[in-house]
Symmetry: C2
Subunit: 504 residues, 2 copies
């Protein structure tokens, strides 16, 4: 299907900044059809430094107005964004499907998730933000006298949000980072991902409507379109920016971190930079469970084109009969996986290169169907000794592939865990809670991951208060925080103690 | 008084690392008598790189054991450190008085505070750490099915603590940073401050006893003595170190930050780098209140030799009759302030230089008594216009002096606030909660400070759950955190989500 004017009649290709659609350098790059790799007729501007400065100054001015709005006003605003997204979602999802090649069902689910996030923050805003965290009454008789103290939280200021390519709705313009920053009382400047610029403009239009309906300061959200990385680095160095959130590659994220480190004042930087999400299958794996687990692993590895940050990229498989059986079933299952279009031509190209490279260091043991411009599901295998010797095998490959690592003993597995870099998730399969050696491994693994799972797949990150999405570096640059769930809002708040304030 | 063997019979001058008193380079530098500036017979080692590596590796090994201890065990340990500090406190305080020239009453108060901190964390440990932050029960019927999730907190790992000179007990070896890290479950490596090495050894001996009594891993706390800065930079770059806490000068703190930024993995860095703690006296100041406020400001500025991080260094005084009266009273009060020994010869020298330098940019309007090797209380004055033009006046001078800034209008004051760097505290005096223009100024000031005070002095930071000690940069390098109060412990924890764990 090709885009039509009916599908996106209001398209401008401009930035939304300081409350205006505008662009100094318009028509700079086209949206790309992720299935055909062809340029679509929608073209987009390239953000210039002057525009960036204007956006930041407008956001700083909007902050003064926005932070003074009540929690209820902000909650209404978040709910209105959700309502606007739903109102024309049929057209939006068609645009997004063209840009990302993600199936409609997945996109519908992602839109639901995006709206759920906005509504979750809205529902919890009044209880989370209005109440004092802690209060002490004055006691002038005590030695020394005690002052009246009220510990509250206030927003940090304008936040730079870098949209991710793999969640064009839920981790993009109106995604979790934007929702949590707005909930906290911070204006947001979104650097749109150049892989889904039309989706980004569409979503920004929904936010713009919500701004108008809720009478919010127009610059409370800005959208910058850009193809090059330079503007991202300039953005995080602007003095008005008080925090930045990023989900993407290690290379880009670490470069942004370096730019942030050059600021005279440190600011929080919440970056999710990659995770292998190891699946540790214990030697106790039974032959009954092996084929079931194999099917689950293949489905979790190849779902959404293997483009989820929680994809189980490493399978630690025991060298037992059940372990063999698991791999036999997985090999058969992989061969049934159809070829899939990836999010954009760049990711497809990286996948091809990564897969070729991997074949130099591990054995390809299974492959799915192939098609032009589409990714083939792949399963590689190596021994744990080989994995340790070949650092290339520790690189994340974004796409529908996994590496099965054969190990011989629990001791070997413990050694693997001890040098494991930080992960978003890790699972233990065939875990027996009554075995002390299993418990010891679980305890050890906990210090290398943000979420520790017993006997389940890591994909499918539920948006709920008990969720943790983050983890030790490189899973996150700030392991104290989460980017999914209610606590994501805490990233954009800081404590303020009010002493002896008359209202107390 | 000179030190005697009776006062400190067990003195070794060594580091305590990997559970042993040891030193490759002993007798490197002496403790200095802060009153006479003379070297005392106690000499101390200079930490070497090999010792540092040994300390970090031992701390990482101790972490595995220590993190597994129950909250109750850790609470007992903290209480035992407190008990040990109290047991021989008479001798300890004499040693500290020699090294810091702080009066005995102040030191007794500081020891109480140190013990209170340890006990506060101990009392709250079981409720803070044991309970799940948030729990979700499994719901297999829901679409998609909901997993059982338990959100908990786990300790980060070994923490580097840099002792401050101005609180030789409460922000040093067994101070708030150490107490909160130990409470969280993190081993601590303290880099002792070279201005009070004997106090540091004394306190480490108390901790060592507590380690033995509570059967804790010996390397759960280490003490490194050093005169040079190099070892501090090496310390924060060790892979075993997972967080660092620092209180001290902007120059040293920012250099440490640079070393941390060179690590491949980002770690939290909690540094308190200075604050001017402005006192905004509103134009409504009455002639009744003016002399009382003047006395309070002088007492708060010159107490503890003006060496508190919350010293009111800037007084914003209206150009009114009452403002004049305030300055007249303050001038008279300053002249009555005796000369005071400062914490060490280096701080005395910096104070002298800073004061001379300040006289080039502001008018000296009052001075206290003078004496050799002692600091004279000083009050300078300038207009707000001059303050804005002369960046030198924005530098913090550690010691018993303040700068009175004369302003003409509330608009001028608002402009001052808009460019104010981050502060630990700021006070509003002659504040009228019913005046919208006062409320507007208060709202604006809130975004520049960690603690906002109405009509009280900033000094005297109470250790209690509602306290906030931190603030926007440069008050802190991480404005989301506090170094005083119960929440200080959160700096050394991070979330872990346990999914589908059988015990749930």
């Amino acid at each position: 299907m090709q885009p039509t004017n009916t599908l996106f009649p209001a398209h401008t290709g401009q930035h939304y900044l300081a409350g205006q659609w505008q662009a100094l350098v318009p028509d700079f790059f086209p949206a790309i059809n992720a299935t055909t790799f062809e340029a679509m007729p929608w073209r987009f501007a390239d953000c210039q430094n002057d525009e960036l400065i204007q956006a930041c100054q407008a956001a700083a001015a909007a902050f003064i107005e926005y932070r003074a709005r009540s929690a209820k006003d902000r909650a209404d605003f978040l709910r209105q964004i959700s309502a606007q997204l739903k109102e024309h979602s049929a057209e939006l999802l068609q645009v997004t499907a063209l840009e990302t090649a993600l199936p409609t069902a997945r996109l519908q689910g992602e839109l639901n998730r995006t709206c759920l996030q906005l509504e979750m923050f809205a529902s919890n805003l009044e209880t989370t933000l209005q109440a004092a965290i802690c209060q002490q009454h004055a006691d002038p008789q005590s030695t020394p006298p005690k002052a009246a103290l009220t510990l509250t939280q206030i927003p940090l200021g304008p936040v730079a949000v870098f949209a991710a390519s793999n969640f064009p709705l839920a981790f993009s313009v109106a995604g979790g980072d934007t929702a949590s920053a707005l909930a906290a009382g911070c204006p947001v400047i979104v650097k749109a991902h150049s892989a889904h610029p039309a989706t980004s403009e569409w979503v920004m239009r929904a936010i713009e409507k919500a701004i108008r309906i809720c009478n919010m300061p127009a610059a409370v959200v800005s959208l910058l379109q850009a193809k090059s990385y330079a503007i991202s680095h300039q953005l995080v160095q602007q003095p008005e920016i008080k925090a930045a959130a990023f989900t993407g590659s290690m290379r880009v994220g670490m470069a942004l971190r370096q730019s942030i480190n050059q600021r005279p004042d440190p600011i929080p930087f919440y970056a999710e930079l990659g995770s292998l999400n190891p699946q540790l299958i214990l030697p106790e794996l039974s032959s009954e469970v092996a084929p079931v687990l194999a099917q689950q692993l293949v489905a979790s590895t190849t779902g959404s084109g293997g483009q989820l940050c929680t994809k189980p990229g490493l399978w630690l498989v025991p060298q037992t009969a059940a372990g063999e059986q698991l791999l036999v079933t997985a090999t058969a299952a992989i061969s049934q996986i159809p070829a899939q279009s990836l999010l954009h031509p760049g990711i497809f190209q990286s996948y091809q290169t990564g897969a070729e490279h991997r074949a130099e260091h591990a054995t390809l043991i299974a492959k799915g169907a192939s098609a032009e411009r589409q990714a083939q599901a792949l399963l590689y295998s190596c021994t744990l000794a080989e994995f340790k010797q070949r650092p290339q095998l520790q690189e994340e490959i974004f796409g529908p592939c996994a590496l099965a690592i054969r190990y011989q003993s629990l001791a070997e597995l413990e050694d693997f865990v001890s040098t494991l870099p930080g992960q978003l998730c890790a699972s233990l399969h065939a875990f027996d809670a009554t075995k002390p050696e299993h418990q010891q491994l679980r305890q050890q693994l906990a210090y290398h991951t943000g979420r520790l799972i017993i006997g389940q797949m890591p994909t499918g990150v539920e948006v709920c208060p008990a969720m943790q999405h983050g983890g030790p570096f490189p899973a996150s640059t700030d392991l104290r925080t989460t980017s999914v769930g209610l606590a994501a809002l805490q990233r954009f708040l800081r404590p303020l103690c009010q002493q002896n304030y008359p209202d107390q």
